[in-house]
């Protein structure tokens, strides 16, 4: 129970910081009774997808001639993913990169990309902590059942 309280307080602090919003609670509320790994799996899925897309963005932005259509595609996917999990600050950073890519402004794209990466790494670290706490709670509950 103490760990649940700590997890709850941790998530509330992330919301106060603006890193997560109420969408996170909405995702958590969708967890089916027969799938206790749902939330931790979605967090994992998000991080894996974002790692891949961030890497692709770096490749696309470092090309001699930048394909802004590809930049827009990747940032759209990242925004969709981050906003679906409640990562609102990262979603805002995606919007800034999207706007720079619509204007074909490479300098602003690179600045916006750096900001996006920073927001993502920050969110990822926080979600890893959430992930560990959720897994510990799951593990403790499994042990109680036995």
């Amino acid at each position: 129970m103490a760990l649940r309280t700590r997890l709850h307080n941790y998530i509330e602090s992330l919301k106060e910081e603006g890193v997560l919003d109420s969408q996170y609670d909405h995702v958590k509320s969708l967890q089916p009774d027969d799938d206790p790994c749902f939330l931790v799996d979605i967090i994992n899925n998000f991080c894996n997808d974002a790692d891949h897309s961030i890497g692709e963005l770096a490749n696309v932005l470092s090309e001699p001639i930048v394909d802004y259509a590809k930049v827009m595609t990747l940032v759209c996917l990242l925004k969709g993913s981050s906003s679906s999990i409640g990562g609102c600050r990262m979603a805002v950073a995606c919007r800034q990169l999207h706007d720079a890519s619509v204007n074909g402004d490479l300098a602003n794209c690179c600045m916006a990309y750096d900001k996006l990466v920073n927001e993502y790494y920050y969110l990822r670290d926080k979600l890893k902590t959430v992930h560990q706490m959720e897994r510990t709670i799951m593990h403790n509950e499994e042990r109680k059942k036995k």
Partner: protein, 171 residues
């Protein structure tokens, strides 16, 4: 234009009475869904609907699938446009398709997949679900055959009117 008649494996495997269109005619087994913390309750659907989510990002499709499943909608996933087109080419039937516009940077876009699926005669509801929108994006997607354009993240409130419309259209 030929109408795709699905051969929904799920409903046939369970021995349900089909209606010849590959769609189960069971009443929905859902109890409805109450959105936590909002006081909003959605009544159960009368029919067991089937949906396909087409999205490259696993966090997105897992989330959208969970929303649909909370309404009692049987939901499959395709991670690429090619996979979605193949599913329809193999005769599958769905009442609803949620499709991301961009999918991947290397292969078929959601717009092209929508065009091809409509070209095969699919007349069910197709909803675009994506993170950004512009007038030209919307025009392109509507021209391909989607029925509505939703911005991520979708919510129960956003998807309910479409499910209700589909549910009410089934006798």
């Amino acid at each position: 234009m030929a109408v795709v008649k699905g051969n929904s494996q799920g409903s046939q495997a369970n021995g349900a009475g089909g209606n010849g269109n590959g769609r189960s005619t069971w009443p929905s087994r859902g109890k409805g869904y109450s959105v936590p913390g909002s006081g909003v309750t959605f009544p159960p659907l009368r029919n067991r609907l089937k949906a396909l989510v087409v999205d490259d990002m696993s966090a997105c499709y897992r989330y959208e699938r969970a929303i649909l499943q909370s309404f009692g909608v049987e939901t499959d996933v395709a991670e690429t446009g090619e996979e979605a087109v193949e599913i329809f080419a193999n005769g599958a039937y769905y009442d609803l398709v949620l499709i991301e516009k961009y999918l991947t940077i290397y292969a078929m876009t959601g717009v092209e997949a929508t065009r091809r699926i409509r070209g095969m005669g699919f007349q069910g509801k197709m909803l675009a679900v994506t993170a950004f929108t512009s007038q030209s994006d919307r025009f392109e997607f509507f021209d391909a055959g989607i029925d509505a354009y939703l911005i991520k993240p979708i919510t129960h409130e956003m998807i309910w009117p479409y499910l209700l419309q589909i549910d009410n259209q089934i006798a």
